[in-house]
């Protein structure tokens, strides 16, 4: 039986279908979750997709944080359920305090869409265990507010704990310490700005590296199940 990965749709979510496709192509079973429904229907992991939830009013992700589903996701994450936030989903995780730091306006002040080269800095998370250590991958990065910021102490702690998950090789937005993605302490919650779900087919993406992220969580879940 394949693992069930919930994909949340907020009003303004754009990549929910694409996230479901990525789950499906990697061998998982995507399950649609709804922002206004506190139930997460027995899923094994949750994918918060990109988009402009609630129009990104005020700050990106600021309003999504108060949705019904996020209360449940927060509780499940505390119990160790794998949660991935991509782009707007990453912003939601930061606004929800499931991940440290914040994502602010790009240093060059524009939305920019370019494939980003990343280094996988740790394979000890639920979402990166299938990668080779220090693997270099290419995912589309496309956002206007993706500059990762946190205070120095937080950044030092993230580095020290091995919680910087992805680092840009050509920093596209001015992120501090070239950080593209981070994890929580337990490694089950990961957020990143570039889009794995748009790098799952050679025909449509710059690479198929995005499959590795979903494959990681499927491996993580089956390992847990067999234990």
């Amino acid at each position: 039986m394949s693992a069930r990965v919930g994909v949340v749709t907020f009003p303004g979510s754009l990549d929910d279908r694409d996230a479901a496709r990525a789950v499906y192509l990697a061998g998982g079973e995507p399950v649609a979750l709804w922002h206004d429904d506190a139930q997460i229907h027995g899923v094994d992991a949750v994918f918060l997709p990109g988009g402009f939830s609630y129009g990104d009013a005020l700050r990106c992700g600021a309003i999504a944080r108060f949705s019904q589903v996020m209360d449940t996701v927060k509780a499940a994450a505390a119990q160790g359920m794998p949660v991935l936030g991509v782009c707007n989903g990453f912003q939601v995780l930061c606004e929800s305090h499931l991940l440290p730091g914040a994502l602010v306006r790009n240093a060059h002040l524009r939305y920019r869409n370019r494939p980003a080269r990343l280094r996988v800095e740790t394979t000890r998370t639920a979402w990166t265990n299938a990668f080779a250590p220090e693997a270099e991958i290419v995912l589309p990065a496309k956002h206007g507010e993706g500059r990762y910021v946190a205070d120095e102490a937080v950044l030092d702690r993230l580095e020290g704990d091995g919680r910087v998950v992805f680092r840009y090789l050509d920093n596209p937005n001015g992120s501090m310490r070239d950080i593209a993605g981070v994890a929580n302490e337990a490694g089950n919650v990961v957020g990143l700005m570039p889009h794995p779900e748009h790098a799952v087919e050679a025909l449509t993406g710059p690479s198929t590296d995005g499959l590795g992220i979903v494959a990681s969580v499927l491996a993580h879940l089956s390992e847990g199940a067999s234990r």
Binding site: Y54, A57, L58, I63
Partner: protein, 81 residues
């Protein structure tokens, strides 16, 4: 030193999608008795100590740069003049 605060707001008749979205989210916080939210920008400008025509210069800055007169209006207040 003169400190000037410029408030830039969308004109009252112009749709403010951000304000609408925040208004729509308020019930989630249990707040149900708000009828309108509008979001603008606050810009703080500090002039040099011996700057002249602070108000006039502020007006130029606000009118030509900070606000888009087609859709936005602004208000200037001068502190410590």
């Amino acid at each position: 030193m003169a400190r000037v605060v410029v408030d830039v707001m969308l004109k009252s008749e112009i749709l403010d999608p951000q304000g609408e979205a925040v208004l729509g989210a308020l019930p989630r916080l249990g707040v149900t008795d708000v009828s309108s939210v509008r979001i603008g920008k606050r810009v703080e400008i500090e002039f040099d100590e011996n700057a002249r025509n602070v108000e006039e210069q502020s007006r130029v800055i606000a009118d030509q740069l900070l606000a888009n007169p087609v859709i936005e209006s602004f208000a200037i207040s001068i502190e410590g003049a």
